[in-house]
Symmetry: none
Subunit: 457 residues, 2 copies
């Protein structure tokens, strides 16, 4: 039976697959840093070469920014069609000194692959490629038509993929989109994700003096942008972590009783939170459990602060400028454009005197909600159960995958979020890793999904 042959192939070739993944991980495809532009393109070529070798019609598509990799198998009209989406670009790697090894020199240790991009998202995308390989190399017919669209601007907020999707609805036509860029619920429990948060990301820039001033010569005479930025940020939330932007909660879709019960059954304890984060304990909006806040309540967080002297010891200056990067995670029914406008108005209204304030909306993303009883979602649960040999659960996700909303809107098909990572994979942090077992189970799950969705989606 072909499924057995496919799974056997994946087991047999696992070591080679890992080594090939390491080759991809060696390419420092940091999309937000201009000097890595050519590296990003090399990472695209790596994926394109592999898809072409598997016999897929493959193309590198220019977007004006970083390119898209598009590939499709033979499209037989008697088969369902799955469109796999992923991204080959990665997050920045600073602070470098906190990495145990250089972030682009993959390290296989203790059953894990350590490297920037191992979990987010090269390692997960690679599972789908290797599932296709298991069919193609054994001359087994794919149970479904497959299409791949892999982008290079996911981590830098580029819009190439959205414009391409919007303009190529026929080419991308499919019965379902599959995305592996999320996580298992925990190490033992695979999951299908049915909701993502949206995002509205801002940079608040303050300018005071023309240059840094001697804090002795001019202290007390002019507004200090470093103090002023703190006054602004301190007014973004109340003492319980509730956002103070006017109207922020107006459109929030409340959790229903079934969801609250299902969340409670997952028994996410304070100890688990401490273990996963290393933080002293939970903190946030009153009246909600940690999991409810994580998955279904909007948030407002500082992502970066910089002003004045950041080196060792003392430097006595009044900084000329201060910058805060602040992002809001939004939940279903909140509208990013309306929230962004309200945020901008609010920040301008609370800016202290004596500085010039610029409030820049870097990007926005829609929140996502997917019907849990769709046939595709059930096929995903079955593939996970067999691929991971464990009972999967439904989860939500606090992160944003802006493209999901684009696919829903342009292609009018369901989106299956099938994560192979762990929340402890240190994505966006030093020492990012992927569990090798999850890579192996992910390859199996992807292969099994072809069969599970061959039935009417």
């Amino acid at each position: 039976m072909s499924t057995n042959r496919v799974l056997a192939y994946l087991a047999e070739h696992q070591q080679r697959h890992l080594e090939q993944l390491c080759d991809w991980l060696r390419i420092p495809s940091i999309s937000s840093v201009a000097e890595h532009r050519d590296d990003v393109r090399r990472a695209a070529s790596f994926a394109a070469d592999e898809l072409r070798d598997l016999g897929l019609a493959t193309e590198i598509i220019e977007t004006g920014g970083h390119p898209l990799v598009y590939a499709e198998s033979e499209q037989r009209p008697d088969r369902k069609t799955l469109l796999f989406y992923g991204h080959y670009d990665v997050q920045p790697v600073v602070p470098l000194d906190l990495w145990q090894q250089p972030p682009f020199e993959p390290l296989l240790r203790d059953g894990r692959i350590y490297a920037r991009g191992a979990s987010d998202d090269k390692g997960q995308v690679y599972c789908h490629l290797k599932a296709v390989e298991a069919y193609v190399r054994q001359n087994l017919p794919l149970p479904v038509n497959v299409k791949f669209i892999i982008e290079g601007e996911e981590e830098c907020g580029g819009h190439g993929i959205e414009r391409f999707t919007d303009a190529n609805r026929k080419r991308l036509a499919c019965d379902a989109v599959v995305i592996s860029d999320t996580t298992l619920y925990n190490a033992e429990t695979p999951a299908v994700c049915y909701s993502l948060k949206g995002l509205s990301y801002f940079e608040i820039r303050l300018r005071g003096p023309a240059a840094d001033l001697h804090s002795g010569s001019f202290g007390g005479t002019v507004q200090n942008p470093g103090n002023a930025i703190c006054e602004i940020v301190a007014q973004l939330k109340d003492g319980d972590g509730r956002c103070r932007v006017p109207g922020f909660y107006d459109d929030v879709l409340d959790l229903d009783a079934a969801e609250r019960a299902a969340f409670a059954a997952l028994n996410y304890t304070d100890d688990v939170l401490r273990e996963e984060t290393g933080a002293p304990g939970p903190f946030g909006e009153r009246g909600y459990t940690t999991l409810e806040r994580m998955w279904a309540r909007p948030t407002c967080d500082v992502n970066g602060l910089s002003s004045g002297y950041g080196g060792e010891g003392a430097k006595t200056i009044i900084p000329a400028t201060a910058v805060a990067k602040v992002s809001m995670r939004l939940v279903p029914k909140q509208r990013p454009a309306a929230i962004a406008a309200a945020f901008q108005r609010y920040v301008e209204s609370i800016c202290p005197p004596g500085v010039q304030c610029e409030v820049v909306n870097l990007h926005n993303a829609d929140p996502v909600l997917i019907e849990r009883d769709a046939p595709l979602m059930q096929a995903g649960l079955r593939a996970l159960a067999a691929g991971f040999e464990a009972q999967p659960v439904f989860v939500r996700e606090g992160g944003s995958i802006p493209i999901v909303g684009t696919f829903q809107r342009c292609l009018q098909v369901p989106v299956l979020l099938l994560g192979y990572g762990l929340s402890t994979d240190n994505i966006h942090s030093p020492n990012e890793k992927l569990e090798i077992r999850n890579f192996a189970c992910g390859c199996r799950t992807s292969a099994l999904l072809f069969k599970e969705t061959a039935a009417p989606v």
Copy 2:
């Protein structure tokens, strides 16, 4: 009359004196940069050689760090004794590309000497040496005994001079200390400075999660150190810039009516402030003029903020840590140790839950107040009036010169702060310069000071 001969000598030899100063300025004595260690020592030898040539008993004194230059004339018991303090080390020179010429290749142009150290402090110290030369080379008796102590760690925060002063009170015994390391009030108005602010410098360090977290995965669940540091800093001052540390103003010595009137007479306008700072306008504590805040009110300023991502574009993290560098400039009668303790208690008391807070006192310095009607101060005013041919004023200074407090405490004598620089001399910045006219007037003033202080100090 000997004074006329001295002034004539200084006029006649001015060009040679400038050329010799340039030789000293060519030595890149950057004390904070290890690779310049030998250059720093060469700059010390330059000063020592010159003092020895003038017949002073001269010694280079090891401190463990950069050496001190100590010299003294014949000490006749029937003369008053002046101790001249200065420093031969200089600030770093980055960013080099903003200099019009290499910082250690002095350029004489438009009536100025451009070079690192021209104003801070070699050029000012050199005035005192040349004043001595004008007496010695003409075999005129010095009206006072002179002692010189010139250090090499002023710009790198070394403590060699403090230890030496504390341990050598008899050797340094004098009737007054003279320091030329400050500025005229403005280009037309020489000044005697009678007060310096003190300092208490802190680093506030917050720790939350063990590493940066994905702001989607964990937003809303734990305290964000970036938000928390802003909440702390925002509570350090009220909306008018008044410090909220309990007891902060308790010991502040208020300005008297004469001082307020004298400050007002200096007519420091908002336009001058805008020109000097490039800031949109004045800001600070209500009820005080800009000059009162600058010179006589304590301040609390952010010197640096850093948390999370400071690069280009967006990174969606909850930062693991946040650091604020905060310093308070203190005025006479405030006690740095008491203020530091109050600051520490206050910050710990307002720290939000969910982060670990460390409040580190990097260093403190005492404020300084010198009696304006002391005979020494009046002698300084007379010397300035004749040396610069302009009516001098009394000023205060917002910066700190920690050694002044050390001299007051160890030697129990008044300190005359007699500045020959300008606030526009770009000290600590590219294109540092000294006005040649101020060098010439400074040499005259130093020479005249010998005579003015020969009367009972």
